[in-house]
């Protein structure tokens, strides 16, 4: 991770440090920053609550305490200059789980959820930017909790983008960031992590601010405008009111949501160049054109399939729903479970495909889909011309063999996770279509699915969905690699114990 690379360079040499020590240091550093961010968020939520004269002192206290402690640790942390991939993955997972732990404590402290499993699930869904909630009576919750709930998705989205940038040199995210000249960049061509993070933050905040302003102009109250902007830009989908966007019953608000959901599905790289005034990049991006085409065709087809209802609002409803599905923003569209089978199937397919790479959204993502299709085409051509050298390209840029190998691995892991998720959910009692929709939607960090009633979830269903959300949010590799590393470590420990025991006996 270049990320950790730059600021930490002054904090001493890492030449003599072992890989496991590097992992621990980086994990502490990342978790520390995550805690600082969460602490700031908690304080902000508390202050919002206090401004509305609602009880929120506990949140402020928790935020200040955690933030201060973590800030102190971060100042002291010694971060390796060139951390190994395992260290990056461990840091990503530990930071993510640290945020969930803090959020869980916050929910329990404020009494928003009655039990620990509820608090954990709500936190996982929040930081996974997925709209599956166990909170049923949103209207009765304190303002500070609602604000914090929306903020978890905002922070989760930013953490996902930070992870993409951090894991960039490892090719696991199939992402192009500024400064890249040759398709998927390597260490040499990617800008430093700090620079990337700054650019991501700028884009993220600008789009978020514009979204909040647009919501406010469209008629939302200031609290709602910020809350919904947080969850729109992060492709989360949590709302302060039940019934998704349908609660407002406003064309203006739905139009704003459609535009910003579509923007949230556009790569931060592309948005960065747009912010810098390089509009030509927008047109040259093959992935962006494909994404917009999918949105347009999806909206047209869903409109055609639901037109028979004779509803004049069919186009508007189709646009909101298709954009929500494609960008994996989980605002639950009203009445989509009653749509024709073709429309429902198309929506699930759109959820699985997802938006562009380099966004806070989930799913398979457009970039991977294009690369996979090109790869399949190359293999077809190789059948006829076995000795041909055929480079896979996205737009004008070539994709290396290693990213392609990782892409194929991702594809297989994605399919296996979907099948395992469907099996788990059906075992818990869901019917096949509901299980398939819920599994795909959770893995794509969308949340709701047509035909699936996620209102009252049992323990097994929650566990399966939580695992799927975590896998989808962390894009498989960090979680799988860390889990694999943990299993290998445990095995080694056991083997060492056994050999020690043998030695002692002898």
């Amino acid at each position: 991770m270049r990320a950790a690379a730059d600021p930490p360079a002054r904090r001493g040499s890492t030449a003599k440090r072992t890989p496991s020590r590097a992992s621990t240091d980086l994990a502490l550093w990342a978790s520390g920053w995550a805690t600082v961010a969460c602490g700031g968020g908690l304080v902000l939520s508390g202050l919002v609550g206090l401004a509305e004269r609602a009880p929120a002192a506990a949140l402020v206290g928790l935020g200040v305490g955690c933030g201060a402690a973590a800030g102190f640790c971060v100042r002291r942390a010694r971060v390796p200059s060139r951390p190994p991939p395992m260290a990056i993955f461990t840091a990503a997972c530990s930071a993510w789980f640290m945020m969930i732990a803090l959020s869980t404590v916050a929910y329990l402290l404020t009494g928003a959820t009655g039990s620990l499993p509820d608090a954990i699930f709500e936190s996982v869904a929040g930081f996974a930017t997925t709209n599956i909630s166990v909170l049923s009576e949103l209207e009765s919750l304190p303002v500070a909790v609602l604000f914090w709930r929306a903020l978890t998705q905002w922070l989760g989205g930013f953490a996902a983008l930070a992870l993409l940038a951090a894991a960039l040199p490892l090719h696991v995210s199939a992402l192009v960031l500024p400064g890249d000249n040759a398709g998927l960049p390597d260490r040499a061509s990617a800008p430093p992590f700090g620079t990337q993070l700054r650019r991501i933050a700028i884009v993220y905040c600008i789009v978020g601010g514009l979204c909040a302003a647009a919501y406010a102009i469209a008629g939302m109250g200031s609290l709602d405008a910020f809350g919904y902007a947080f969850t729109t830009v992060s492709t989360g989908g949590f709302g302060n009111h039940p019934g998704g966007l349908g609660y407002f019953d406003s064309t203006a608000i739905e139009s704003v949501a459609t535009v910003f959901m579509a923007l949230a599905g556009v790569s931060v790289v592309t948005l960065w160049w747009a912010v810098r005034g390089r509009w030509g990049v927008l047109w040259r991006s093959f992935e962006l054109r494909a994404y917009l085409l999918v949105l347009a065709v999806g909206t047209a087809v869903v409109t055609a399939l639901t037109w028979s209802d004779g509803d004049p609002g069919a186009l508007r409803r189709a646009a909101v729903t298709v954009t929500a599905a494609s960008s994996s923003t989980g605002f639950e569209p009203a009445g989509w479970s009653g749509w024709s089978w073709g429309a429902q199937t198309l929506l699930v397919a759109l959820i699985a495909t997802g938006g562009m790479a380099g966004t806070a959204g989930g799913g398979f993502q457009m970039r991977r889909a294009i690369a996979a299709a090109r790869y399949a085409y190359r293999e077809l051509v190789t059948e006829i011309h076995p000795h041909t050298v055929h480079v896979v390209k996205i737009g004008r840029r070539s994709v290396g063999e290693r990213p392609l190998a990782l892409l194929n691995g991702f594809q297989i892991l994605f399919a296996v996770a979907v099948l395992a998720g469907i099996f788990g959910l059906s075992l818990a009692g869901m019917d096949l279509w509901a299980a398939a929709g819920a599994a795909i939607s959770a893995l794509a960090t969308m949340g709701p699915a047509p035909g699936a009633d996620l209102g009252a979830l049992g323990g097994v269903e929650r566990s399966v969905l939580a695992v799927l959300m975590a896998l989808g949010r962390l894009a498989f590799f960090p979680l799988v690699v860390v889990a694999g590393g943990a299993v290998t470590g445990m095995r080694r420990l056991l083997a060492a114990e056994r050999s020690n025991g043998r030695r002692a006996r002898s």
Partner: protein, 513 residues
């Protein structure tokens, strides 16, 4: 660089008549000629059955097929040079022609389907030749014995493949013949059993015919099964087809013995025929060495155990009954057979099983049987390579500079093979996605659409949801059936051959105009 395969016309002892060079039409003609004996046998059975008078449509179909076949075979000959790109159109044309002319007995008999239902006839024919077993015929038992035998025979022809049959008697194709076989045989590579490729094809067909005969004899030994029933079911069991002359399929016999014989036959049909040949030559250990085939058996055993438990615990059936129905249906779905054993007091209707059991069945349909067999699906070999590749990428993500080969049983799989398998996986997912969207848009509910498409691509037969074993494919709209029929051919020829064949055909047409 283009590979050019040169045939050796000098070796031909028979002087060849002057003809126009066209490999596709030559092979199509030969494949059609091979269909004629099948149609004539069906005519004779119909004539001898005395229960109906449907022999005339069968005879007319035989005459038309024979005439077309003779004209094409004699009028066109193989070219001297066979390029790799030439073989794919051959396979596509052969399958299309056989499917169209194989549908003649259904349309010529107004009591069966008639001309007004030409699409249903084509569906039935394609479902037969691709050894799928999905049907749109209602009230099957009421049709003539001869026509139903022809329906079984289509599955037998398609099981091993008409192109392989043609190659077995075409001595002059040289290396092109091997490419032709590779394009049609399920699995990543075709095995060589003899120095000449026609010899390999002949041996495969002999083993196939032997297996069919063995199943027929074993089935005939079961009480309550007539000779006609034994032969008819053996034809579709060896080809892992799934058609039955009875609407009740194997459940018609209500016999455990018949189920066991059919299950064994389907397992044999879903394992590599090259291995069967080697075993017949005394090398029984060949089975043990083929890890994918052994894994296939392990998958069958594990899935049977899981589903038995699910049926026993969740549906409250007795353990014995759960085991019996779980085993038969796991075998019929994993081998892409497609028979069913719905009977009074049984659990044969797997579309009504508890949802997790249906998920397991869906996965079995996807994976399919062993390479080089008559089964459909992705094949166990590909699933193994995909899993090994996924594990490799996890290691690559952890150690970016490492070089990790894909290994199966200690042997390193060459990268081009891994690439082909991964490309096939992507094409499979794309075909599945596009097919499902179209079929669902045409009115099928998602479970029926998804399972119907997987069933078609895997050449399975019945699906889940409304198109389960107790129902048929008439639940799909007529255009959706044509899409499913197309997917059956795509699945049978493992996508690549169809796409490349279509691409080459279109390119030729564009060049001409």
């Amino acid at each position: 660089m283009r590979r050019v395969f040169r045939a050796v016309p000098e070796l031909s002892l028979v002087p060849r008549p002057p003809h126009r060079e066209n490999l596709s039409l030559h092979v199509v003609g030969l494949a059609l000629l091979f269909l004629v004996p099948g149609m004539l046998i069906a005519t004779l059975v119909e004539w001898g059955s005395l229960t109906s008078d449907g022999e005339r449509p069968l005879l007319v179909a035989a005459l038309i097929t024979g005439t077309v076949g003779m004209i094409l075979f004699a009028g066109f000959g193989p070219p001297d040079d066979v390029r790799p790109s030439d073989v794919f159109p051959v396979v596509v044309w052969t399958w299309l022609s056989c499917s169209v002319l194989g549908a003649l007995p259904y349309v010529l008999d107004a009591d069966v389907l008639g001309w007004s239902q030409w699409d249903s006839a084509l569906f039935e024919s394609i479902s037969g030749f691709t050894a799928s077993g999905s049907t749109v015929l209602t009230d099957i038992d009421s049709h003539g014995r001869g026509l139903l035998l022809w329906r079984q025979l289509t599955q037998w022809y398609g099981g091993m493949g008409m192109v392989v049959l043609a190659v077995s008697v075409l001595p002059l194709l040289g290396v092109g013949g091997q490419e032709l076989m590779r394009a049609e045989t399920p699995g990543p590579e075709s095995d060589r059993l003899a120095p000449r490729i026609s010899g390999t094809a002949k041996r495969l067909w002999l083993v196939y015919a032997g297996l069919t005969a063995a199943i027929a004899v074993a089935l005939f030994a079961v009480p309550g099964v007539s000779l006609y029933d034994a032969v008819a079911h053996a034809l579709s069991a060896a080809g892992t087809g799934g058609f039955s002359p009875y609407g009740g399929s194997i459940g018609h016999f209500e016999s455990l013995g018949a189920e066991l014989v059919m299950a064994t036959g389907m397992i044999a049909g879903a394992m590599s025929f090259s291995l069967h040949y080697r075993a017949l030559r005394g090398d029984w250990r060949a089975y043990g060495r083929a890890r994918d085939q052994m894994l296939f058996l392990k998958i069958l055993a594990s899935a049977t155990m899981v589903i038995t438990l699910l049926l026993w615990v969740r549906q409250g059936a007795s353990f014995g009954l759960s085991l019996r129905d779980a085993f038969f249906n796991v075998v019929t779905l994993a081998t892409s057979g497609g028979f069913h054993n719905i009977r009074p007091g049984g659990l044969g209707d797997f579309a009504a099983w508890t949802p997790p059991a249906q998920v397991v069945l869906g996965v079995l349909m996807l994976i399919g049987g062993g390479a080089g067999s008559t089964s459909g699906g992705m094949k166990v070999f590909r699933a193994q390579i995909s899993a090994a590749h996924a594990l490799r990428t996890v290691r690559l993500a952890r150690r970016p500079r490492s070089v990790v080969p894909v290994k199966l049983g200690g042997a390193v799989i060459p990268e081009p093979t891994v690439g082909r398998v991964l490309g096939f996986g992507t094409l499979y997912i794309m075909s599945f996605g596009v097919g499902t969207l179209i079929v669902a848009s045409l009115g099928a509910d998602p479970v029926t659409a998804v399972s119907g498409v997987i069933s078609a691509l895997s050449n399975m037969g019945p699906a889940l949801g409304e198109a389960g074993p107790s129902s048929d494919f008439t639940v799909f709209a007529r255009p959706a059936r044509l899409v499913l029929a197309g997917l059956m051919i795509v699945g049978r020829l493992e996508i690549t051959a169809v796409l490349l064949g279509a691409a080459v055909i279109v390119r030729h047409l564009l060049r001409r105009h």
